[in-house]
Symmetry: C2
Subunit: 310 residues, 2 copies
Amino acid sequence: MKRFVVGIDVGGTNVKLGLVNSSGRIISRTYFPTKSYIRSRNKLIDAIAQAVLRLLRAARVPQSSVLGIGLGLPGLIDPQRGFVNFLPNIPGWKNVPLKKMLEKKLRLPVFIDNDAKIVALAEWKFGSGRGFDHLVCLTLGTGVGSGLILDGRLYRGADNTAGELGHLPLNEKGAACNCGGVACLERTIGNRYLVQRSRKIFGKGLEPQAVGKLAKRGDARALRFWKETAEHLGNALAGVVNLLNPQCIVVGGGVANNFRFMRKTLIEVLRRRALRVPARRVKVVRARLVKDAGILGARVLVEQSLGRSS
Amino acid sequence: MKRFVVGIDVGGTNVKLGLVNSSGRIISRTYFPTKSYIRSRNKLIDAIAQAVLRLLRAARVPQSSVLGIGLGLPGLIDPQRGFVNFLPNIPGWKNVPLKKMLEKKLRLPVFIDNDAKIVALAEWKFGSGRGFDHLVCLTLGTGVGSGLILDGRLYRGADNTAGELGHLPLNEKGAACNCGGVACLERTIGNRYLVQRSRKIFGKGLEPQAVGKLAKRGDARALRFWKETAEHLGNALAGVVNLLNPQCIVVGGGVANNFRFMRKTLIEVLRRRALRVPARRVKVVRARLVKDAGILGARVLVEQSLGRSS
């Protein structure tokens, strides 16, 4: 019986692979650094195919038991046509027919999608978002993004770019963002801008993790840092709550390790700024799957693409 | 054959009724002022039922030819249970089982929904939004709201409050809005705030219609007034475009009579502030159905609720 899926999370730093069984458990895994192949697109694709075969061999799972391969990539993906349109952080990836290329190498069905969307699928089926039909799954890190589950399915929009929550304007005027816009949420709470702000407060640039450690010890400046971060995020989420009336917002990504220092303020801001009914409805919770979300979500992608429920 | 639908648009000023045939044409209509019945909820419901029967008699359409009755109401509606939860502008309406009450009086299937959602259904099936699977249908008037068509169906959210675009924060700080929030879009471009702003520019408060007349004659201050209005609206829509990646934004409501003075700026702001791919995708067009949208959308609501395609 075809019951396994290989989930692959292609990041700017590492490519992580996991063999996922039918109950959503990762029974075997491997990874390799993306940078070794960053100069050649085709070598990276080769390395991915080789790693899949190695993973199956090591777990003694024959290819005939594999339902399919799912990949999440950090960029603009066309899941219908199976094309990587563009990866902003991995050079040389523009209009690559990745699905077809990997299917030829592996002789297995391959499905690809944007990584934030795959994380949302994972949290929805296996994580903190279980049981919700209307879900915003937020990723806080270098970039700020989200995947939207609306009416019980992944919402992609016209070009698969839906969910770009990091580029919601926080204000009408403000600093220029990398995206070309101004005053975007990501321009305020994206990792590097958090470090910038920490410099003003602590006299030197601290990574969010370090500020988290200080907050844990009760450092007042660190606690205020997270409160302010939560206020900015809450202001943007108030708009999302009013627009989408979700049941749940799942907060994930590296910065979400500090969720406990932001939760109370986030909920306060939503109660204060969003409309009464949707503000009372929405739960704000921390993501559960963290580093495995990309691999587990790939299983959901493969099952949904093949028309199986998961 | 059951081929007619009675569409009813319950507004703060008038209740408008129309008999809609299967090709989406209004073949007969009537209306009465809401105010005559504003003191008694039950009298208003009686008046609606009487008006339906009069409309059918006048058009010589027997009740047996009517598929159902659709009503749009300005407030929080529970279409599944058929309850009016709350109407902010018509006193005495709180948790009213309107569907059941009217079905008892009329012996026909009755369906109810929020008016902005019904307008979106109308523009999607019969108006400017035809053919689009991902559509934001904006209403600009006293209130600023929208109906969302996502993945080819009306998106309601967890409590049927989705689409409250007027309460997207334009800024992190700003003037208090009626909704309890601050710096909402509606607090800047809702009708009364447009009148307030006109006072600063023209020395006296002008209704949007009057500023439109001046703009038509080429008055520079009036043109600037609409340009500024479009800038505010565009700033909010940039976030919506990034979040939802819609194919089309339909701009309706009374203030949209001045769409021609806002269109260019709206598109400019979206190109400038939204991400490249979704900004290039989205069309911004004026609503086509205007005063009939509430009646025509009711036909779509009835058909969809009865499981028929329209």
